[in-house]
Symmetry: C2
């Protein structure tokens, strides 16, 4: 409209043209290996999951012969749990009852029969929402001194961001890079004892399989951590969103909940535990649905009341994300019409990821000045990179962290986007970056070759 001179819109259009025009770069495409966003990297959705969500979205399709009966059954069940049989209704803040029941059954199957109570399940807007909510509740209950929250270093930065937003104290414990990023209880104890001097540590966060570090904790290590939490009366927060992403021979995912129960009633009646899962990772990679759940056990009834109150402010998690979560925990089973296709799609994704995990580790370890621990699980490599002192000086002159400087150069010269280790935390004087293994195999190979060439040139330049 002429009247307002259309000034704002035209500025915006100009920006977009600038973006498109750009400056000539030595690459044709930016490869976003910085974020665990499977579909954006070309992974195809699981057909069954999308069929069920589409049926729930547009129930006229329940009469269509092109949808399988098992998908229709799932959709009918979910719709029966919705007010007015519509995804458009609010649900209870905690999520749809029948989906929470399916989550509980899934956990029982996964954990070899350890009981799970739907009342302890909260559907969430992705795992992040649950983690933020629990941290908020635990931190706000603090007394005089500020609440300490123990997190691994390196960590997924949601934790540091949430802790700082809540004005709590971040208590770092370091994973052991020399030992395949293992979690060592002595290090937990060191961190806790030092922290007690200046805060009130109440929460211990674990990420297993690790993000960005990709390690998978063994049973013994989990038992040690649980014993430590029991001894020190710490609330355990187990981020287990990569539970389906385990690749290395001899590695297996054990949930904290399962091990807790196997350690006996002294533990499972006392240790407070929240664990998190999501639609975003695993083999489905449905990040955009913002689906997730948390299971919270041994939560004090009063705190539980506060949690429900807090969750009710955001009304309810997105209902199509709840539906997607239902299919993650309640996929087709043998004998059902969709089983064959489902298992084929699932295994294809997971086998590919396993192949890419090995490929990435192997290729990184052939590059001089790069060392990469085995990618036992999750979907990232977190290689350690040697940065020559001349490059460190130049980074400092640009007021940049040395690994940020490295990653910027990598991006400018190759179009490959990865995240500097300083975004996750790392031991002083060590440098890393995080890269996803999500690009298709052929593209990943090219990407790794490019990193190799870049790195060798970088070493030469700053020798």
């Amino acid at each position: 409209m002429e009247k307002w001179g259309n000034h704002t819109r035209s500025t915006s259009s100009k920006n977009q043209i600038n973006k498109q025009a750009g400056i000539k770069k030595p690459f044709t495409e930016v490869i976003k290996a910085n974020i665990g966003d499977a579909h954006a990297m070309g992974q195809r959705p699981i057909t069954f999951l999308r069929q069920v969500v589409a049926l729930c979205t547009y129930p006229n399709l329940l009469d269509s012969p092109s949808f399988p009966e098992d998908a229709k059954e799932r959709a009918r069940r979910i719709l029966q749990g919705c007010g007015g049989n519509s995804l458009g209704s609010y649900t209870a803040s905690q999520g749809i009852n029948c989906i929470r029941e399916d989550v509980a059954s899934y956990i029982e199957r996964r954990d070899g029969g350890v009981p799970a109570d739907p009342d302890n399940i909260y559907l969430t807007t992705g795992a992040s929402d649950g983690i933020s909510a629990i941290l908020k509740i635990l931190v706000s209950g603090g007394g005089k001194s500020r609440t300490g929250v123990m997190i691994p270093i390196p960590q997924y930065p949601l934790y540091s961001a949430a802790i700082s937003e809540l004005d709590a104290i971040q208590v770092n414990y370091y994973l052991d890079e020399e030992n395949c990023w293992a979690l060592n209880v002595n290090e937990l104890r060191r961190a806790l004892n030092e922290a007690k001097a200046y805060c009130n540590p109440k929460v211990l966060c674990i990420i297993n399989p690790g993000n960005p570090t990709g390690q998978v904790q063994n049973r013994k290590c989990i038992e040690d951590v649980i014993h430590f939490a029991w001894e020190e009366k710490l609330f355990l927060l187990a981020d287990e969103v990569y539970q389906d992403n385990v690749y290395s021979e001899g590695c297996q995912f054990h949930s904290f909940k399962k091990i807790l129960y196997e350690m006996g009633p002294e533990y499972y009646n006392n240790v407070e535990l929240a664990s998190f899962h999501s639609t975003s990772k695993g083999y489905m990679g449905e990040c955009g649905y913002r689906g997730g759940y948390m299971e919270v056990i041994n939560l004090h009834p009063e705190i539980k009341g506060q949690l429900v109150k807090l969750l009710s402010v955001r009304l309810c998690p997105p209902v199509s994300g709840q539906a997607a979560m239902d299919i993650v925990v309640n996929p087709p089973v043998p004998g059902e019409e969709s089983y064959a296709q489902f298992i084929k799609e699932k295994e294809s994704v997971l086998n590919n990821l396993a192949k890419k995990a090995k490929l990435t580790e192997d290729m990184f370890n052939k590059i001089p000045g790069i060392h990469c621990n085995p990618l036992q699980g999750a979907m990232y490599a977190f290689p350690r990179i040697f940065i020559p002192s001349k490059a460190i000086e130049e980074a400092k002159a640009h007021k940049m962290a040395p690994d940020m400087f490295y990653c910027m150069k990598l991006l400018e010269e190759t179009g490959i986007c990865v995240v500097p280790g300083s975004g996750f935390g790392q031991r002083e004087g060590t440098y890393h970056f995080r890269m996803t293994i999500l690009p298709p195999v052929e593209k990943l190979k090219i990407l790794l070759e490019k990193v190799k060439d870049f790195h060798i040139k970088f070493l030469e330049k700053y020798a």
Copy 2:
């Protein structure tokens, strides 16, 4: 599994049986008139919106002859804005570009050509998410004294909850019940001046059309409010989620943005304004999708940076909710295949709501001891109820607010669930409740008759 005695699950089942068994009640059905949840009350989704979201969810349907071309076009456009053409990818934290462009075009059409910049549009997880985020940013920028946030009384309790969570100061201004819940600038000034003694008032929240009060502000009143905000350098926060819900003759929705621009550059270059919209209300009633947007203008670039950072912690709004929002701002237009059905469905919902608004007002005003202002807009009645002093005494003996006592009795005796006015705030010594007008007409009539019978008996009992 026997090993764990299945104790948790069996407790849960027992609870459910108790819920089902219950105690014999003098009604057959609970009518939930407490929450603005249209689909749960039987309203049907808008076909076109669901078709587009289903097509985006399961793109195989793009080949199906049973979906109209205009829906397919919308779906293709949205998918092109998604990483890997999938709803399962993360989007930018601010939301998908092409949807933000559609929102900007919608605002320009709505506001008679006042320009809107897609860069100022943020897609959100329902309107609540946007409101909480903006409040957090504005409050955290505070200096020595705590930030005051002015809110109407009665208000939608999201505001009081967010303010208390952020440890800010709630500054009440009272809507004028005698004058159809009008907003009076003298009252704003009184509230502001008193508040300056104990806090730093920085934000003025307006809900228009009003929730729970249903008034629609006229142009003069909006101009006065904008002038006041300009004068006092207050950040204006305009909750306009009921912008499509205007029923009374002679009432019209005016956006704050439009009036701001019409007041001239001194205003539109200086007054900071955030306005909110949602998929949940209007004629679509898609609460479960958690779709929404906010437009923020004149935000300081530094604060804008903080906002983007804050929003990025939750990664992105649910993508199917973003798609639903797109259809709300970009529905079928004359000449398109789906237009006739769309406009029929939309008008049916809105005409029905208008009819129910009038019916509710009329029926309430026939009940002795109840007075109800005209329901000019939104989807609630907020009648004032006379509660006899004997009932007030009995409520106090039960440690209940008198209107809570009244609403509990109403629920117990009739199965009708409404929300006591004390949940929204009201002038000392006055009592109200909020009731939605969403039940179907015939059911609403029965409901209002039941309230009438209950109220008359209540007056007799406590005379």
